[in-house]
């Protein structure tokens, strides 16, 4: 087993691209998502008309919007299409009318928050006071979804590299040669898990430390529990990679499995809140290891759960590991007549 672990580590170190894919690319993608989903300095422009001076003044005090007077005779739609403003607001007897170009979460929440706050500053009793059990209302989308990114990235990278590496072992006939040596099937599977596990440990630790100290992601719980969960996710990714490559004849066929194996898991990872899904589709999440991984990570990073509270998720991941381990043994044994 040690020689297989040794070999995998050497192979990855010789292949600088794979090494970068495991260690550098996740950090780059995290940074990119941080920049995309983090705090936006964009000031939304709001054009107003038919508005009481008192409300207009209150609106002007809101820092997230820039208020201008709509001074053209164009319709509201054309005015926005021209790019003169992001939103047009007017007050009528049947309420406040807001016209915007399209459903844009960032601009929409800026406008509605500004209007809401402006009105409540005039009439404090109408103020909405929203608080959350976990997290704060001023957290960014990145704070909210960062944990998903950690597990999805780690799962995806390790799956690709281990799957391709094992399918290569088959297409290049090295597996046949390996099977002619006295090495045990279980050592091959364990060797693969430990070899890629080695990189998974480095990767998860790097990603966690990077998001905590560089990107300052909201981090309520203990980072080592998060690392353990990410490691379990990576082990599942290695074994899923081996299983898929047994069913594939070429590297391309491994890639063909991504839309079937990886993409649905991302959908069910918590990106869309699972408990609001229609048609009892939420049951599907129970067969997806990434769901448990993401829920566990959410528990640690956002809810600050301790190890005991997270244990059910860890236990579920371990069950997946056991099932995959047995199927891997059976799959690899297929290449041996003994």
């Amino acid at each position: 087993m040690v020689s297989i672990v040794n070999r995998i580590i050497k192979q990855i170190f010789h292949d600088k691209r794979s090494l970068a894919l495991i260690l550098v690319v996740p950090l780059l993608l995290l940074t990119l998502m941080y920049l995309l989903l983090g705090k936006s300095s964009y000031i939304t422009t709001v054009a107003v008309y038919d508005i009481s001076p008192q409300i207009k003044e209150a609106l002007c005090e809101q820092e997230i919007v820039k208020v201008i007077e709509k001074d053209s005779t164009n319709s509201d739609q054309d005015y926005i299409k021209n790019g003169d403003a992001d939103a047009v607001i007017y007050f009528a007897s049947d309420g406040i009318h807001i016209t915007m170009l399209e459903m844009d979460n960032v601009k929409m929440s800026a406008v509605t928050n500004a209007v809401k706050d402006a009105i409540s500053s005039i009439n404090p009793a109408g103020k909405l006071n929203i608080s959350f059990v976990y997290g704060t209302s001023n957290g960014t989308t990145f704070d909210l979804l960062g944990y998903l990114l950690l597990s999805i990235l780690s799962f995806f990278m390790i799956f690709i590299i281990s799957g391709i590496s094992f399918v290569r072992e088959r297409t290049s006939d090295t597996l046949e040669r390996l099977m002619r040596t006295p090495v045990k099937t279980i050592s091959i599977v364990c060797g693969y898990i430990c070899g890629f596990g080695f990189f998974a440990v480095i990767q998860s630790t790097l990603m966690i430390l990077f998001s905590k100290f560089v990107l300052k992601m909201q981090f309520v719980g203990q980072w080592w529990i998060a690392t353990v969960i990410m490691l379990l996710i990576a082990i599942i990714a290695v074994m899923l990679g081996i299983l898929i490559s047994v069913l594939s004849k070429s590297e391309f066929q491994v890639v063909q499995f991504i839309p079937i194996i990886i993409v649905p898991q991302i959908f069910f990872s918590g990106l869309i809140p699972v408990d609001t899904l229609p048609y009892h589709l939420s049951y599907l999440s129970h067969i997806m290891p990434l769901y448990y991984g993401c829920m566990g990570l959410k528990g640690v990073l956002i809810k600050g759960s301790n190890f005991i509270e997270i244990f059910p998720y860890i236990f579920a991941l371990i069950i997946f590991i056991v099932i995959l381990f047995i199927s891997n043994l059976l799959a690899v044994r297929k290449y041996r007549t003994i």
Binding site: S3, R7, T181, P182
Partner: protein, 244 residues
Amino acid sequence: MINTVEIKVNNVSKSFNKKAVVSDISLTIRGGEIVCLLGPSGAGKTTLIRLIIGALKADSGEIIFNDMKIPNTKLMSELGYMPQNDALYNDLTAVENLAFFGRLYGIKSEILKGRIDDVLKIMNLSEDKNKLVLNFSGGMKKRLSLAIALLHNPKVLLLDEPTVGIDPILRQTIWEQFHSLRDNGTSIIVTTHVMDEAIKCDRTALIYEGRLIFDDKTEKLIARTPGGNIEELFFMAKERQYNG
């Protein structure tokens, strides 16, 4: 400790998708003998080799090493196998490839280094030993693949087209090496589709469309082909098939 290994192939057949690839072949390879499996591409040579090493299970018949029936885990460390593809890790160096397989065969680390140097020297790869296989030429890969098969001093060597793409001078030294291994009691099975290789073997088994059509000393085979052209034999076999 096994000194020499005699391999008996008894009435072995194997088909893929109902197409017979090896039909009822019986063959004995005595200890310390080089036997050549000669036949055109697609004749079933590789399948026969894979049956002998136990990579495939025969549909019927049996293969016996001395008195042990294969597949058998104990025999694995006595077998040296070189597949037709190079079966190398491209992202490792030559030494790392050798060290990896050496350890899997359980060669002790104090001996391993010396053995690696030996086989590299035989294959004339000593200068390139720390290069990644990725940068090797086709012939160099073939030599490294052969070096791996020799590494653990196996008593039986099964080599699938071992000298294709190797230059004539080096091919000469490799064959000298095979002969000296044979003289030390190693049984060697080599597949080829060219006569030049066959004449260096003690015995030739001619395989055509999955059947064994000739199995005797190589000199006798040469005597039967007046033109020295192996293709004549295949034509003769084909004619015999049509006539009866």
